[in-house]
């Protein structure tokens, strides 16, 4: 017990392999599980739909699921950021629709080259987000209201941009459409990716272990790092193998997951991310600690709208067209719901970008499963509602266990 962080005699030392299991059981009972309950909810949904239609878990459907999740999932990443601040953005749907419209009009009517059009679409989002941030911080207008106004205003702008003709079809041979619909990792690349992910994980962990040991802090064993890396590689490779039975890992879902991993790194491992959590947890404390709260706000809103714009571009690419309905209907609700279902709090300071991933998969799985079964609209609505409550109840019950055991 010579480590600086292991001196307190009340600390229960849980490094022995036997204790690890006991620890897991205790964590299960106390509900201190992070993403596990959502994942369990997801697995339950999958099993149920599989029982009703075995094609649900076919490679083809899972590939489809990954493609379907990526567009709104990308928007949801931005929503997680905003929720972490304890704010909300109701306008992501309109912003994604507007950016899609900008893309389509520049590309098709004005003949801009693709990269320039994409850049312009993303910039639309960026500018809108910065506007929100400024309004929110300078005038103190609640984000609910500004973004509600944005929802309307940018829907208007979308209609204006599209003009009288409405729907614009993107050129079929565009690289963007190929990216969103036809680009998949070749099998060898997918396995290489699995190994690369495992290796990066292992090296990062090894470095942490070394540095902790050097700082005289307790550190997990190298063996555990090896085991975890191997399990990680195996898991990714398994997923890759199964998806490769059909078309494989799509470029668009890959981009989505990559963005999530990247944002998770930014949030957990950089000063900016730390400040986002601090402002979300206690804005006044953050201000008193000398954090530039306004800058954090503006950066988060800008990122959120940019992700919304990116989602709009991807949605346009996937649908191969942009119309007045783009970004409409349930886009907002789905994007926000995914984040919340994944476990991000609406009150700020608690959550992770992975909630966008799992929350979106839950929502999309329900949709996809019901599509396969093919039921009347009213049944579909009712079942979606029911399954949603069930999936989240698993999560909530475990959280409640945590609370009553005093650790939350």
């Amino acid at each position: 017990m010579s480590f600086a962080d292991r001196t307190d005699e009340r600390l229960i030392d849980d490094n022995s392999p036997r204790a690890l299991w006991g620890n897991l059981v205790r964590r299960l009972r106390s509900g201190d599980l992070g993403m596990i309950p959502v994942v369990v909810g997801l697995i339950v949904i999958w099993i149920v739909f599989y029982a009703m239609n075995s094609r649900f878990l076919s490679s083809r459907n899972l590939v489809q699921l990954s493609l379907d999740s990526a567009t709104i999932g990308m928007i949801s990443v931005g929503i997680v950021l905003v929720l972490l601040l304890g704010e909300i953005d109701l306008s992501v749907g309109s912003v994604s629709g507007l950016s899609g419209a900008v893309l389509a009009v520049l590309l098709v009517y004005l003949g801009w080259p693709l990269p320039a059009a994409i850049l312009a679409a993303l910039c639309t989002g960026l500018v809108i987000g910065m506007l929100y941030g400024v309004l929110c911080t300078r005038f103190g207008v609640p984000s609910f209201v500004i973004t509600l106004a944005g929802l309307l205003a940018f829907l208007g702008l979308q209609l204006l941009t599209l003009g009288k003709n409405g729907t614009v079809n993107l050129p079929g041979e565009s690289a963007l459409i190929a990216f969103a619909n036809f680009t998949f990792l070749p099998p060898w690349a997918s396995y290489a990716l699995a190994v690369a992910i495992g290796a990066v994980y292992f090296l990062a962990r090894l470095r942490t272990i070394r540095r902790r040991a050097a700082a005289n802090l307790s550190a997990p064993s190298v063996r555990s790092a090896v085991i975890r890396a191997v399990v990680l590689i195996a898991a990714v490779a398994l997923v890759a193998w199964y998806l490769n039975l059909d078309r494989g890992i799509g470029a668009m879902p890959l981009l989505w997951v990559g963005v999530i991993i990247g944002m998770d790194f930014l949030l957990r491992r950089t000063t900016w991310g730390r400040h986002v959590y601090a402002v979300g947890g206690n804005a006044e404390a953050a201000r008193r600690a000398g954090i530039n709260v306004n800058r954090v706000y503006i950066s988060v809103f800008a990122l959120c709208s940019t992700f919304a714009a990116l989602g709009g571009v991807l949605a346009a690419a996937r649908l191969q067209s942009v119309s007045q309905t783009s970004g409409g209907t349930d886009t907002n609700l789905m994007a926000i719901a995914a984040a919340v279902i994944g476990g991000t709090s609406l009150f700020g300071g608690r959550g992770s970008v992975y909630s966008a991933l799992f929350g979106m998969l839950v929502l999309q799985s329900i949709t996809s499963g019901l599509n396969l079964i093919g039921v009347d609209a009213f049944v579909r609505y009712m079942v979606t509602g029911g399954v949603l409550v069930l999936a989240v109840t698993i999560d909530s019950l475990s959280r409640q266990a945590r609370k009553s055991s005093g650790s939350g």
């Binding site: 600390l11 942490t208 050097a214 802090l217 730390r274 947890g281 206690n282 008193r288 000398g290 300071g349």
Partner: protein, 268 residues
Amino acid sequence: MTQSVLSLRGIGKRFGAVQALTDIDFDVRPGEVVALVGDNGAGKSTLVKIISGVYGPDAGTIEVDGKQVEIHGPRAAQALGIATVFQDLALADNLDVVANLFLGQETTRAGALDEETMEARSWELLRQLSAKIPSVRIPIASLSGGQRQTVAIARSLVGSPKVVLLDEPTAALGVAQTAEVLNLIERLRDSGLGVVVISHNMADVQAVSDRIYVLRLGRNAAEFAIEDVTTEQLVAAITGASDNVVAARRARSTDAAAPAASTKEETR
């Protein structure tokens, strides 16, 4: 007499229908511990918040190192070398101890947070203050009152301020931790910083401070040099009367328990 590192003149502050501060003058010189005492609601914390940029004053001027300044926010105060431990602590409950200790002053390595260095340094700081915190990787929300306060005090040691303002730093601390904080205050003074301490514990105040300001109902009520003040005088200045409840209790208890008296001194 050296120049004041911090000097307030005529500070006033009103909240709604309450005039919380009226015409306050206040000076701190380098290498000096100034105590600020007063009854509950006398305006001590409000004064500290004005100095540290949390509130703007309604009236009056602030000088730092002899130059008049406007303090537009906590960032500005920090830039002027003013570090503060607030009475309400102002910690982010959702972050862990390390994150709170280094909030706004994170150590980075190649752009990423250097968690190991911060964690090792956290243990060092906390040990200096005899903190009994089992783990620095649990959220602040799950710490005890005293543990939270220790973290807030340790925060002020990260950085290199000119003036340290401590608003009731020992209120929730145990006997050992209180003694460590008093030691700390003395070390800060010895290294030439100006220190402002607010406390309701007259023993502590008299043990570490060089000068004492008394506020009463938002006004300067008295200023004492430590050499020429007794506890009775201080209590009388704070409560505004010499026949106060404190004196009454003391009279009663010295009647009853005179023998134990001398052993209790300075242990809170």
